[in-house]
Symmetry: C2
Subunit: 294 residues, 2 copies
């Protein structure tokens, strides 16, 4: 499969990510036919009205028919079931990918449920927000954001190249790693922050929170994300997330000790370290034009 | 002291908060004379040029002369020294307050260093950002934000009323509590989030962070705040902050256990709880018009 030959894409699940993908594809590949699957009538109607897809189907077997590229964009907890459903209807040589936030499980499911005549390579386009649904779909959601693709050792080079070029065309920066390493990294930079935001809210008193400022609100923003989706992410990457939490607990205990000992040098060192490390990150992201307004 | 009689204010320290206060005062009380203190020539010049104050002085004794209200707006670590310096120059009957983020220590220093002829009541206007300096001063910085005032049992009712009306006139919502209770609450809703943001950055790998999305950036935004200021805040509220960290560690251990046990019901319950609790907070803040754009 080569990118220039792509003329038929199927998007399975038309929420924020699937819908935005439909809009982005239309912007870059105006001639590619976009079929979509949603089990909800209202979503299919909205998606068609908004021009997010060209055709909407209530079954995956209909939606994947004739598609050269199938993108699973539904919650990760639905992947196994959807793969089983689509297996017989997929075109030989079809490339299947997904937009799930963990990669070990989707790759495992694909090996188990998808036929040998198709190729699966996991993708993780790191875009989105705490908002959900096709109503929030935007053609520029992926612009400048990172996409990690996770081919296994058995992936064909030409297919890796195709998928890489596809996400690049959508406007993303590509990184490539193994499913295992992906999940280890994401546990630290995504699943852990979610756990911390959730835990901070759960440990706070509702009355006292009312007095909070912008700092608290920003620090906890992602705790407003969809719980079902995040349950699947955290459970699907449980061991790595648990390990990442362990590192945080150890460091928090060191902060506690410094506070208890009145060790203001240690506290200042930690504050300085975090400030300069984060500022460097922001500078790099600005240089790469990854931040809004940059 | 009554608000209608106020015609001379002294702002000690002309950074983001002091500068914004100067601009806000001018908006609400255009006839009140604003004198300011900064030990830095460049800050005094900038403040005068930007109309943040009417007169700038390099010593606090000059700056507080004739003032009916003195507002300490420098970093909390400088308060004790500045109080000692201003003690003899303060007008009898003058009201002294501050904008520091902890309240037990400023109240203790005031009792120790300020003369009996003046009255000190601590204030904590909860506005600001990770930015610093008079360059970022804005007349609307305090609009709609909370200000906690912390009179002790010895405060005169008329003085409490005066201070309350002053911050209200500046555009703030007032809460009133004891210095002790203030510091306990702030440990949880402000100092703890800062520790978590700092700790998350310090536990992250610089290379891996480059892959992070908006969630990580928001969760860690406050870690870019000024380290010296935050050292003073955390050390000045060490016991409460340590206790707040302890609550977080206990809850993180429960999350770890749920992940280890594959207890997805427990994880979902925590995610649901945090989402609805935070969404309620946002709704209340929107209702109170405390959020930008609301």
């Amino acid at each position: 499969m080569k990118l220039k030959d792509l003329d038929n894409i199927s998007i399975i699940g038309i929420g924020l990510l699937g819908g935005s993908l439909g809009l982005a594809i239309n912007r870059v590949f105006p001639r590619v036919r976009r079929s979509g699957y949603s089990h909800r009538r209202v979503t299919r109607d909205k998606a068609l009205q908004a021009g997010v897809i060209d055709a909407a189907y209530p079954t995956v077997t209909e939606a994947v028919k004739g598609a050269q590229l199938v993108v699973l964009a539904s919650p990760i907890g639905t992947f196994a079931k959807l793969m089983k459903e689509m297996a017989d209807a997929l075109e030989p040589g079809c490339v299947v990918t997904d937009v799930g936030s963990t990669k070990v499980l989707p790759v495992r499911w694909a090996k188990k449920y998808l036929p040998k005549k198709v190729e699966f390579i996991g993708s993780h386009p790191m875009a989105g927000s705490e908002q959900r649904g096709v109503d929030f779909a935007r053609a520029d959601l992926f612009d400048g954001a990172h996409c990690i693709i996770t081919p296994t050792s058995r992936a064909k080079k030409v297919t890796v190249e195709f998928l890489l070029e596809f996400w690049q065309a959508i406007g993303m920066r590509i990184s490539q790693t193994t499913p295992l390493q992906h999940d280890r990294i994401l546990a630290r930079i995504s699943h852990l922050p979610h756990v911390l935001a959730m835990t901070l809210v759960n440990c706070s008193d509702s009355e006292q929170m009312l007095l909070c400022g912008k700092g608290f609100l920003d620090t906890t923003r992602i705790a407003s994300g969809p719980p079902g989706l995040w349950r699947d992410i955290l459970m699907g990457n449980a061991a790595n997330t648990e390990a990442a939490i362990g590192r945080i607990i150890k460091e928090l205990e060191r902060v506690q000790k410094a506070l208890r000992d009145g060790n203001e040098k240690a506290i200042l060192k930690k504050l300085n370290g975090a400030q300069s490390k984060r500022n460097e990150l922001i500078e790099k992201k600005l240089m790469l034009r990854e931040l809004p307004g940059s």
